[in-house]
């Protein structure tokens, strides 16, 4: 068995040393966000500020990163979440992760604080800490142009330098946007990481692995979701779908439907602005949008960005969204948190509670606003602290649209109540993906599992959360998991009685899902249809990964991040949503258009094997073989 080797870098002392991962940890946590959370528990004391020099930021990979398996450029950045005080785990599709592996390390654990701006370079197994004073101040595009073209890069922009709470990292044009990981880099004076090397990434059974990849890629290219819809429309295609189900946040989540949403839809983007589609390196799905901006081809916006710089701020100008998306990227800002914070500030303004010169529907000053946020200029420094902080200063907690402090994504959970539960329980805060992404099964996909019905939602949320966590930990893109919805449903379409019936009947499947979750270890099979990732992981590591044990890995990932949150003082009380979503029906005539967290959470905790206060029970940790660890 080839065990991963990380490097531990202390910027205060300038010392670096190898940090081999033990066999026990490798078998249990594999890599990625799971292992990173475990190491954060081990290596950092409780209660640190995210910006404390002793705080660690971990940039690491999973076993599938860079192996050539589809959509496996995705690497992970974990630390303490600037917005929530709990776990930060941010995922990115840039080339840095696979380059890091080729340079000889599976992960970097960075602690301490450099006196002046630095670049950490990893080349052929050697680590150097280089002066980066001349790079400081540059945007994410410029700084990467300055660095050698062939290297894998991970950089911050001006927002990270000034420790904006939702500053992200850029690797190429891909962002590790969420949780403020860019601010943590800034706090340590890290401007950039670079990596290059030619080490071959080891795979346990290369021949079988190659064969399986061929099959898997063919499967992805044939499936409607990964072979047609995502390449044609990207995630942007969801704007019209969410809007059709009243699940598109509008005017800071006051409503879920905007009659003009089509102006910023994926279809409109594809028909009028798209130059072509592209993708992260290694990915056959190719969901990335390419668009022209000032005569240059740049990355186009994702669904979240279109929704949040569109209907959620009362705007309907697609060209403005393209521009703001680019501006956020080069400044190094997370588009979701930035745009959602702006929407909150607009509502504060509307209600006369604060004045940032921001008004619903007015996009004329937004580019300037983003620049001022990134520069923490004057009063805009308040916006740079995110919605939760703002609501504590100016009021409006009931409509500050975050959970635990992290702004929610662009799904209105009152029309997708499972997604609401997901937002509330997601470890990193209001994240749809970490939250299990039930919106796909309830309101924006081909299937609609009764979006207002709470039955079976807790069980499905647990199942989905575990599956998505495992995929991330392995080093794969979550979009490769979209083939989980059977092709036959796309052939039939959302209007067919079979699809409709399944959507209705699924709310009765709670006990079945619960049973599946309980007997997982015996699911010793792998199938392309369900989770091809398990088979790929088995062939890559030589460890016995089957559907059951793969889901266990996901559950372990979810629980270890939960343990980190609990240690840092978050509790079950924090599994919450703003009152707008739990108390005020989206449609006053339909009383069930609220998220009944009070009903959902107890079932969720039970299904997870957690006690009433939301703490994993001893026997749950024992089942997951996590019981003998401190933390």
């Amino acid at each position: 068995m080839i065990l991963p080797v990380y490097a531990q870098i202390n910027l205060t002392t300038g010392k670096t040393e190898d940090f081999p991962i033990s066999e026990a940890y490798f078998k249990r946590y594999i890599g990625g966000k799971a292992l990173a959370a475990r190491l954060l528990l081990d290596l950092t004391p409780a209660g640190l500020s995210p910006f404390a020099p002793e705080m660690a930021v971990i940039v690491n990979t999973g076993p599938l990163n860079g192996t050539g398996a589809p959509s496996t450029s995705r690497f992970n950045v974990s630390s303490k979440n600037v917005l929530t005080g709990g776990i930060a785990s941010s995922n990115c599709g840039g080339s840095f992760g696979m380059m890091l592996r080729r340079a000889g390390y599976e992960g970097l654990i960075i602690t301490g604080k450099a006196e002046a701006p630095v670049r950490i370079d990893v080349s052929d197994g050697e680590i150097s800490i280089l002066d980066a004073s001349e790079l400081w101040g540059m945007d994410t595009e410029k700084v990467q142009e300055e660095l050698p073209r062939h290297m894998g890069k991970l950089v911050i922009g001006p927002a990270g330098e000034r420790m904006v709470s939702f500053a992200g990292l850029a690797s190429g044009e891909r962002m590790a946007g969420r949780c403020g990981v860019g601010a943590i880099f800034g706090s340590k004076n890290i401007k950039a990481l670079t990596a290059y090397g030619t080490k071959k990434i080891p795979v346990a059974n290369q021949q079988k692995f190659d064969k399986y990849i061929k099959k898997w890629v063919r499967f992805l290219r044939k499936h409607t979701m990964t072979g047609d819809s995502l390449p044609h429309y990207g995630s942007a295609g969801l704007v019209n779908k969410a809007n059709a189900s009243h699940a598109l946040p509008t005017l800071n989540f006051q409503q879920g439907h905007d009659p003009l949403a089509d102006t910023v839809s994926g279809e409109t983007l594809a028909e009028t602005r798209l130059t072509r589609n592209s993708g992260c390196v290694s990915c056959p799905i190719r969901c990335e949008r390419r668009v022209m901006l000032d005569g240059k081809e740049v990355k186009g916006p994702e669904y979240e960005t279109l929704g949040f710089f569109g209907p959620n701020i009362g705007a309907h100008d697609i060209d403005t969204v393209l521009r703001l998306n680019y501006v956020c990227d080069i400044l190094g800002l997370d588009t979701i948190s930035a745009a959602s914070t702006i929407a909150f500030a607009m509502e504060l303004g509307e209600k006369g509670m604060a004045d940032f010169g921001l008004t619903f529907g007015d996009v004329s000053n937004l580019e300037e606003t983003l620049r001022k946020i990134a520069g923490r200029e004057g009063i805009y420094s308040d916006l740079a602290n995110g919605s939760k902080w703002l609501s504590e200063k100016y009021g409006g907690k009931e409509f500050a649209m975050h959970s635990k402090g992290l702004e929610m994504a662009s799904y209105e959970p009152r029309r997708s109540v499972g997604m609401g539960l997901g937002y509330a329980t997601s470890n990193r805060g209001g994240c749809h993906l970490n939250g299990g992404y039930m919106a796909l099964l309830e309101s924006v996909g081909v299937l609609s599992i009764r979006p207002q019905d709470t039955r079976a939602k807790a069980q499905w949320t647990v199942f989905m959360q575990n599956a998505l966590e495992a995929i991330s930990t392995a080093g794969c893109c979550l979009f490769s998991g979209q083939t989980f919805v059977p092709q036959i449903l796309f052939n039939l379409g959302p209007n067919h009685f079979v699809t409709r019936f399944l959507g209705q009947a699924a709310v009765l499947t709670g006990p079945v899902v619960r049973l599946i979750l309980a007997v997982r270890p015996v699911m010793r099979f792998n199938t392309l249809l369900l989770l091809p990732h398990a088979e790929a992981l088995r062939l890559a590591t030589g460890l016995p990964f089957y559907t059951g044990s793969f889901l266990d890995l996901g559950e372990r990932t979810f629980n270890i991040e939960r343990l980190y949150n609990l240690r840092e003082g978050l509790t079950g009380e924090d599994d919450s949503l703003p009152a707008r979503l739990t108390k005020t029906p989206q449609n006053p005539e339909k009383k069930n258009t609220v998220v009944r967290l009070d009903k959902l959470l107890p079932v969720y905790y039970r299904t997870r094997g957690w006690d009433k206060s939301g703490r994993p029970r001893e026997r749950t940790l024992k089942r997951l073989k996590m019981e003998n660890e401190h933390g």
Partner: protein, 84 residues
Amino acid sequence: MAEVNIRYRGTLAGLINKEEERITAETVREVLAHIKTAYGAAAGKTAKSMLIVVDGESIHLRGGFATRLKEGETLQFLPICGGG
């Protein structure tokens, strides 16, 4: 009878070589019947399997295929999408 705007998106637009038209119809079902007669069974089948929205709202939140159409409303056929 109401005069409504129809917008064909995604593969359907390519299939019938048309992006929009105005027709008179009372329900969604009648629009589907029109597509089948005017553009053939394949187009009809594709249309039926797409996401159908009236003024941006899914017909599932209205009356399904029996959804009644009002003068001037826009009915769209949209591709199914995914992402996150």
